[in-house]
Amino acid sequence: MRILVAMSGGVDSSVAAARAVDAGHEVVGVHLALSRMPGTLRTGSRGCCTIEDSRDAHRVAGMLGIPFYVWDFSERFKEDIVDDFIAEYAAGRTPNPCMRCNERIKFAALLDRALALGFDAIATGHYAEVIRDSEGNPELHRGEDLAKDQSYVLGVLTGEQLEHCYFPIGATASKAEVRAEAAERGFSVANKPDSYDICFIPDGDTKAWLADKIPMRPGLIKDAEGEVLGQHDGAMTYTIGQRKGLGIQKPAADGKPRFVTGLDPASNTVTVGSRADLSVSHLTGIRTSWCGPVPADIGAEPGTAIDCEVQIRAHSDPVPARAWLGDFVAEAPEHEVSPIVDEVEVPAARPAGQLMHIDVDEELSGVAPGQTMVIYRGSRVLGQATIDRTAKDRLGV
């Protein structure tokens, strides 16, 4: 097969490329230039996007004897990932830019280009597995190393995309093993630090970065009853579930700590409440997609829900849940939108698609609209939706 390996310059994609070569494929390495103004040297715990990272990838490709190119996706990345990230925050939601990048760049724009240029598939250094069923249909599964598992951020892939995806290191027992293999192969990136931060935020300080992009307007901090408890400098810098740095002088009546329970961009209000107020038992998602066929047994009524597990963050534990489908909607359900959004460049509205309803058995805490809920059955990823709203009580029985 002709395989394009997306090489970030990190240890995982380097070993992925090496394994693709070892497996006998015709391999080409491509480094995605995602920043219009890439830094010269890597800083902090960002794992890609500097010229140094591109050179690291180039060096590994050279050692493997494969052609290597840098392709410029910076315009797309700015429009689809960075501007979307800002717009989502401005609208009071919490986006996951890595998922957006997988959905719109790596496994969309890049995959499109690769297939058109004659490649059969792309491979990346993600910790996840594509397992073909007896008929050859791909299923997405968690990576072997659960501590490193990245199936969550790949939950946006459709079956059609998965047909062209390989994750050569997904079945490796641990990251340590990948590093050891890189060292054995003589890759200088064997000990490169892991990346945790968002690649386009240089110093990892998301709040300060956002404050620079989104006009900050002071507003009120209130409790659920509407009593004013304090002031904030801008609602966008708060996160659902946040406890520290609220700056509330007046203690709660019950003496217990307060948490951010809601962000209302329209009125520029931050709502706080008790830990119990953070708990939700129902999630409604928009823009539902499936990693393969829609599960045959899922229905459109709570009574026809399927049993599954839902995961709401990249590294949170999955919780038992029941999922059923809602309506197809052309636009996301109406929200009061912050006037701030007018001042931020917002990408064109995307269709909300099919709604997905989830009831969970154990209450979830700190769920913010904009987060992605990925549903699993065991190790297999079934699909995902973007959380649009939450409810304290279950909708089903």
């Binding site: 097969m1 394994r19 070569v21 497996a23 006998g24 494929h25 015709e26 080409v28 230039a33 890439p38 010229i51 591109s54 180039h58 052609p67 190119y69 840098v70 392709w71 410029d72 996706f73 910076s74 315009e75 797309r76 959905e103 719109r104 496994f107 969309a108 724009a109 995959l111 499109d112 280009r113 058109a116 240029l117 004659g118 597995e129 594509v130 397992i131 073909r132 791909p138 599964h141 072997e144 459709t158 059609e160 995309q161 390989y166 050569p168 079945a171 823009r287 997609s289 197809f328 995307r350 269709p351 698609g353 099919q354």
Partner: protein, 420 residues
């Protein structure tokens, strides 16, 4: 352990590679004659500033090289040839050195803050000018037409506006991406009359069009060896005897005291040989390039829809340059397709990160970003033969089709269309 879904290929496919090099404007490979004098000199190496006989012999060889280069480009004396590490250094030196010299050696309160340059210069010029701006210079960017040729009337008007406040004007002899030749004789005549130092970046023009430093009315002119088959790491700034730019490299006082550093005899000797080979029979050489270039241009225009020649046609264009935009193709995809078939080309000019961005030259010609992204440059050299041009013409239609199917980055990916 779960079963591995990674399919195995029985044998590793071999790619047949017939390397055809059509990127001479980036670096042109060294002809055997140049390689011979270069390696011979490396074996003889001595410091030409040394006072002993071996040093003196080395001095003789580098001075011979200097004279040969001076003669070939029309310098009045060999003292006008200042060896540098290459074009970028010569460009930086010319602009910064002349700017300082025109302003009493200081960036404070410049009496002549104006720096005139075109919008399509090489980054060695543009970024130097941008830096000068941070030091207090007033930068005037001169526009070009859709074919990348300087708007001469506007340029002359700017030059005449405040010559007494102008430090330097810098215009390239020919553009490195699209090959358009600039009216440097006209600029030189006016600059000389007005007493404004004129710098020419002649890196791409050397060996393709006649260059007569003295006749052009220039104060300084940049040339470099590796574009004409000399070694990377040596170039020269032709510098009028009367000009005394501020030194950029301080040290042992070599090269008229303005460019210190131990002289590279081997580099200079090889450079001189490359200059001799590329300018010795310029008319014949240029005619050969022109015939191949026009074969390439005609071939592309007659076989590929949506291919559009950038820059000028005929005598207004460098003989060894062909540059096209291909509607609906990413330059990266074209380069990939050609490289996979063993043809080395370029999306424009190489940059440090290896990323091709919409070229400032093409944007300055009025192209939109998508068109600018669809560019591919084919540059010929001393060893290019007709069969190589024909090989390009044979594979290009399929490569363009493929690149067109791959589409533009700005288009919405298939997977995102009509998502429901």
């Amino acid at each position: 352990m779960r079963h591995c879904s990674w399919p195995k290929s029985a044998t590793r496919p071999k790619i047949e590679r017939v390397p055809i090099y059509l990127d001479h404007a980036a670096t042109s490979p060294m002809p055997a004659e140049v390689l011979d004098v270069y390696t011979a000199e490396l074996a003889r190496r001595a410091n030409p500033s040394a006072l002993h006989a071996v040093g003196q012999a080395a001095r003789m060889r580098i001075e011979q090289a200097r004279e040969d280069i001076a003669d070939a480009v029309g310098a009045a004396t060999s003292s006008e040839v200042i060896f540098t590490s290459g074009g970028t250094e010569a460009d930086n030196f010319a602009l910064k050195g002349l700017y300082l010299a025109r302003n009493g050696g200081s960036f404070d309160a410049p009496a002549r803050p104006r720096v005139l340059t075109s919008t399509i210069e090489h980054h060695a010029i543009l970024d130097s000018v941008e830096w000068l701006e941070t030091q207090g210079a007033e930068v005037v960017s001169l526009d070009v037409d859709a074919e990348g040729r300087l708007d001469l009337d506007a340029a002359l008007a700017e030059l005449r506006r405040e010559p007494e406040r102008t430090a330097v004007i810098s215009i390239m002899a020919a553009n490195n991406e699209i090959g358009t030749i600039q009216p440097i004789a006209e600029i030189g005549a006016a600059a000389k009359e007005l007493g404004v130092p004129f710098h020419i970046d002649a890196v791409q023009a050397l060996g393709q069009i006649p260059l007569d430093f003295a006749a052009l009315g220039a104060t300084a002119m940049t040339i470099t060896a590796h574009k004409i088959g000399g070694p990377v790491g040596i170039g020269a700034l032709l510098l009028d005897r009367a000009a005394a730019p501020a030194p950029i490299l301080h040290g042992g006082g070599q090269e008229r005291g303005v460019r210190s550093g131990t002289l590279d005899v081997a580099g200079a000797v090889a450079f001189a040989k490359a200059v001799e080979l590329s300018t010795g029979d310029l008319e014949h050489r240029a005619a050969g390039f022109t015939a191949l270039r026009d074969r390439l241009i005609d071939g592309i225009e007659s076989t590929i829809d949506g291919a559009r020649l950038s820059g000028r046609r005929g005598r207004g264009r460098l003989p060894a340059n062909a540059h096209f935009t291909f509607t609906g193709c990413e330059g990266d995809s074209l380069l990939f397709g050609l490289d996979a078939r063993g043809l080395a080309t370029s999306t424009g000019s190489a940059c440090s990160a290896g990323v091709s961005r919409p070229s400032h030259v093409l944007l300055a010609c009025g192209m939109d970003e998508d068109t600018a992204r669809s560019a591919q440059r084919f540059s010929l050299g001393h060893d290019t033969i007709e069969a190589e041009v024909d090989a390009l013409l044979e594979v290009l239609p399929a490569v363009v089709d493929q690149a067109r199917r791959a589409g533009m980055v700005s288009a919405t990916p298939r997977w995102m269309q009509g998502a429901s």
